[in-house]
């Protein structure tokens, strides 16, 4: 057992080393991101909310109704229905249950026309689970359904 003096010396040494690191860190740049006021740039590959963006040339989405995304989806959360034959086929339903989706990106990978894509949006919290069912209209809009919360900071 070291003597009291030795232990005290040890403790003081530890304190000085620790405080040294503290003061070093004071001089470093801050890492905290002031979230609602400033936002980080998500990477272009980020798996955010899904969307079927509208093509500006044709005024419609690029989906050719091949059902591949519906088939590969591991969560089985894409629901597609279509009417008509051949070229006249139109989507009557394209729903994605965003609450069941696991944001894996397999649907984006298999889509032959890049109709379904990830958007950089990730803020979609809601008071009601039913709001997380994104219909064709919401997917065309390619944005969260509800305005982003600002909290009590107005």
């Amino acid at each position: 057992m070291p003597s009291l003096l030795q232990r005290t010396a040890q403790a003081v040494q530890g304190l000085v080393t620790g405080l040294g690191v503290t003061f070093q860190n004071l001089a470093r740049p801050k890492v905290t991101l002031m979230y609602p006021l400033e936002k980080s740039n998500v990477s272009p590959r980020w798996h955010g909310l899904l969307a079927l963006p509208v093509d500006t040339e044709t005024g419609n989405d690029k989906c050719i109704i091949c059902f591949q995304c519906e088939r590969i989806c591991p969560s089985r959360c894409i629901h597609i229905e279509a009417t008509g034959k051949g070229k006249e086929r139109v989507l009557t339903r394209f729903d994605i249950e965003m609450d069941k989706c696991q944001y894996c990106g397999l649907c984006v990978e298999v889509c032959p026309t890049e109709a379904i894509v990830f958007t950089p949006h990730y803020e979609a919290s809601t008071y009601n689970r039913a709001n997380l069912l994104y219909t064709l209209e919401d997917l065309h809009r390619a944005a969260p359904k509800e305005p982003v919360a600002r909290g009590i900071l107005r």
């Binding site: 002031m34 979230y35 969560s75 979609a124 809601t126 009590i152």
Partner: protein, 197 residues
């Protein structure tokens, strides 16, 4: 007094019709009837909400992968402490339970009990697809609960698998908005009125 024990003095007066009214509520009721009292009650309520919304203490409670993102949100870069969200280790001191991750049928009674142990007012955030509805474990699965809202009432749903820490923070902000709009005192008055009428 058949048991012969000392007579019990009730601290809370129970009205003859059986509906319980705490002294605070009686006070609010009296205030409400005074001239200009409604404004007073609303102001008191706003102050209370102001305090509540700025100090939501969650329970440190992680179930699965989403808990890692919850830790990141409490970590250095996102720092949930900025919003007065300080994790507490016991449900008795917590206002909020963040259900982060999938909940199994075996775990469901535990979550329910934790929620019951929290004092009012209490809030629930369901974080991630699994807590919201079972998510990736919805089909072909025999052990995961299909959504935590079958067990406890949820206030805010945060989608994502896992949600980014920012998304969780947005959920907390949404909860703050909700708390700010809450009418706890006057709602009780409104409930009591038809019963008394």
């Amino acid at each position: 007094m058949s048991s012969g024990g000392p007579e019990v003095t009730r601290m809370v007066r129970i009205p003859a019709d059986g509906s319980k009214t705490a002294p605070v509520e009686q006070l609010v009721e009296v205030l409400h009837r005074l001239p200009g009292g409604q404004i007073l009650v609303t102001s008191i309520e706003n102050v209370l909400n102001w305090a509540r919304a700025r100090s939501i203490w969650p329970l440190t409670f992680g179930l699965a992968c989403c808990a890692m993102e919850m830790m990141q949100a409490m970590g250095t870069r996102f720092d949930l402490d900025r919003f007065g969200v300080i994790p507490r280790a016991t449900p008795r001191q917590a206002d909020l339970i963040i259900v982060a991750g999938r909940c199994t049928i075996k775990m469901a009674p535990v979550v329910r009990r934790l929620w019951e142990q929290m004092p009012e007012p209490k809030y629930v955030i369901s974080m991630g697809s699994c807590a919201t509805c079972g998510g990736p474990f919805y089909y072909d699965n025999y052990s995961i609960l299909k959504g935590i809202d079958t067990v406890i009432p949820v206030d805010v749903y945060v989608p994502g698998c896992p949600p980014r820490p920012e998304a969780l923070i947005e959920g907390v902000l949404k909860l703050q908005e909700k708390i700010q709009k809450e009418r706890r005192l006057t709602r009780r008055l409104g409930e009591a009125a038809p019963a008394g009428a």
